[in-house]
Symmetry: C3
Subunit: 263 residues, 3 copies
């Protein structure tokens, strides 16, 4: 049973890495990078978070020792690189979004479990879980010179599934019921919350100074322009990203009135 769970956990890890790597490869293709750029961004997005976690814990990074871990991003990069069909179907992007959410939840759990296994305290374990979940996306964004999605308020709640997953694992451990069977289950509420956040377009709260009309941030246009530049940058995406563009446009139009009310 335990061996079975381990195998299941291993394949869930690989799926998460594949999903992250697909996102990284999409960014690279969107930015018109070469084949090595697509490979590097896929590897960075898929393995960056776990690499950081392992370096902090002080073990040789699994990203460089387990052959499945570093071949998964190669596969994702090849799919994104050679298939033009994968860019055309908006369903693919939706599936990747869902897989990304699942991967965030899962990596939050596995990161926290690994940290607990190496005698870290529970807040450190939560921090490491979150870092291993969002680290890959941040690394690939930085390499592609984009502001990471996990920092931007107008993006989906990227960090929430990771925090929830890591927190659930900590709770299970506190009640002494953290084992190979319950650990994957800890990812389920985090995944559900992430899906809810995507579905209902929950946004990350911004600093109070941006929400309070009398707080002094009156000359918002300059900043708003920055935000809308980022949007229009995304909107410049042609053809295959049409669906997503429309989605962004819808979001913006939902968000903007609120912004005007604030200003």
């Amino acid at each position: 049973m335990n061996a079975l769970t381990q195998v299941a956990g291993y394949w869930m890890d690989l799926t998460g890495i594949f999903a992250f790597a697909m996102s990284g490869a999409f960014v690279a293709v969107r930015k018109n990078f070469g084949v090595f750029g697509v490979l590097l961004l896929a590897e960075g997005a898929g393995l960056g978070g776990g690499l950081f976690r392992d370096l902090v814990i002080g073990v040789v990074p699994v990203a460089f020792t387990d052959c499945g871990y570093y071949l998964m991003p190669v596969a994702a990069a090849l799919v994104v690189f050679f298939s033009s069909r994968v860019h055309r179907h908006s369903g693919v992007l939706a599936v990747i979004d869902v897989c990304d959410t699942a991967a965030l939840a899962l990596f939050g759990v596995t990161g926290a479990v690994k940290a607990l296994g190496h005698d870290f305290s529970w807040p450190s374990a939560v921090a490491l879980g979150v870092a291993s979940a969002v680290g890959g996306g941040i690394l690939s964004s930085v390499l592609a010179m984009e502001v990471p999605s996990s920092l931007r308020w107008e993006q989906d709640l990227y960090v929430l599934p990771a925090v929830t997953g890591a927190g659930s694992a900590i709770l299970l451990d506190a009640f002494g019921v953290l084992n190979g069977v319950t650990a994957p289950c800890a990812a389920v509420p985090a995944f559900g919350l992430g899906l809810l956040a995507t579905r209902h377009r929950w946004r990350t709260p911004r600093a109070r100074i941006w929400r309070n009309p009398f707080s002094g941030m009156r000359h918002q246009p300059a900043q708003a322009r920055t935000a809308s530049t980022a949007d229009s940058e995304r909107t410049q995406l042609a053809g295959p990203y049409n669906e997503r563009r429309q989605w962004v446009a819808t979001t913006s139009s939902r968000v903007r009135p609120a912004k005007v009310r604030e200003g």
Copy 2:
């Protein structure tokens, strides 16, 4: 006595982390990031340098083991996130600037002392001291897609206090008088020098090719435009950053004639 010094050193560390984290959180709010962005940038700015130092030395990063270290940036992030008053008072920014300078000096000292304690040679110790002092600021700038202040010549002498602090610690060690009492004292001249640099607006020297009118960099406008774009980006900051904006404007007007003379 020694225990007292350790406690004092610990609290000085926390103060430095708090100051760095405030700077990081301010950047995040200025960039209109969400709450997770503010948290991540505060943690990155406060702990990034020490994390790098500990990874190089090969110990488990204190940023993930000591609860005070990772809670301090959370506190800084919450203050910057929820208080709009902290953005309105220019005095707050001035205090943070002074605390930043102190933190740079202090981190330079503690980084060098920790490296010496792990049998690094003195140039490596200086390098690690400087890296642990400026690392956090560089990390948060990279995450926010800004050119790090420590690299830009038109910023204050960011690196100088760190270098002086690390150098003083090395000198004390060379004379065999480095201990719990003298180590914090090594930060004092570095802090003083940093304050002097801020007060008199000392700038980092630029490469000779930028200063020599006959060296071939004649078509400076293109590059100067880049610099002024960075300025105007800062000037776009509304309301609460007014004072700082004015300060930047003053600086620019002092600097620009010299640039014209060069061209």
Copy 3:
């Protein structure tokens, strides 16, 4: 004989670091950074890759223990900082380009050899060789807020010499003939290939969606504009970079018709 090889290997390492550091320092001067910025970028470009490799392997980074390693970038930074002659002679840039290619090949080999010596499998060794070769350039580009050359398709084949070098070292090891004499020889084909790529302006292949006219990326101008902005950014470089600018211009004009044919 073996001692002689080690000395030769050490000096080849230093030459490679010097070449990388020169590139980093050039970027810093072009971006109008201060003296600390030039130093930091030179150190980052020269040592970043090896630092990453050593952190992953789990040894104390040689970049912080061997005095020759961290003094070489300082020397490179001082040359670039103080000499305006080095910027004026296009021959210098050409020499640095050749040295860069040699360094990529060499670092690919040494990275793979070091990884093999620490019991990594051969794909991990290739990955670590490539990472230690391109890591420095990526770090300095990220610090300077530029998209790393190794990712961009319109740049030379940056990654190819590193991959070839690491692959040759792996092949030699597989045949059991990897030793102090053959290891440097493994860099020779990689170096030759790199020179060929530069000479004939080989470009990295892009994703299929960019090459297939019916794949949906029809509204290319938006993306093409991004590419040409990057070009014009480079073209804005004045005086000393004239030769290189012309070179870029030639390249662009060779590339553009192909792009039109694609669209």
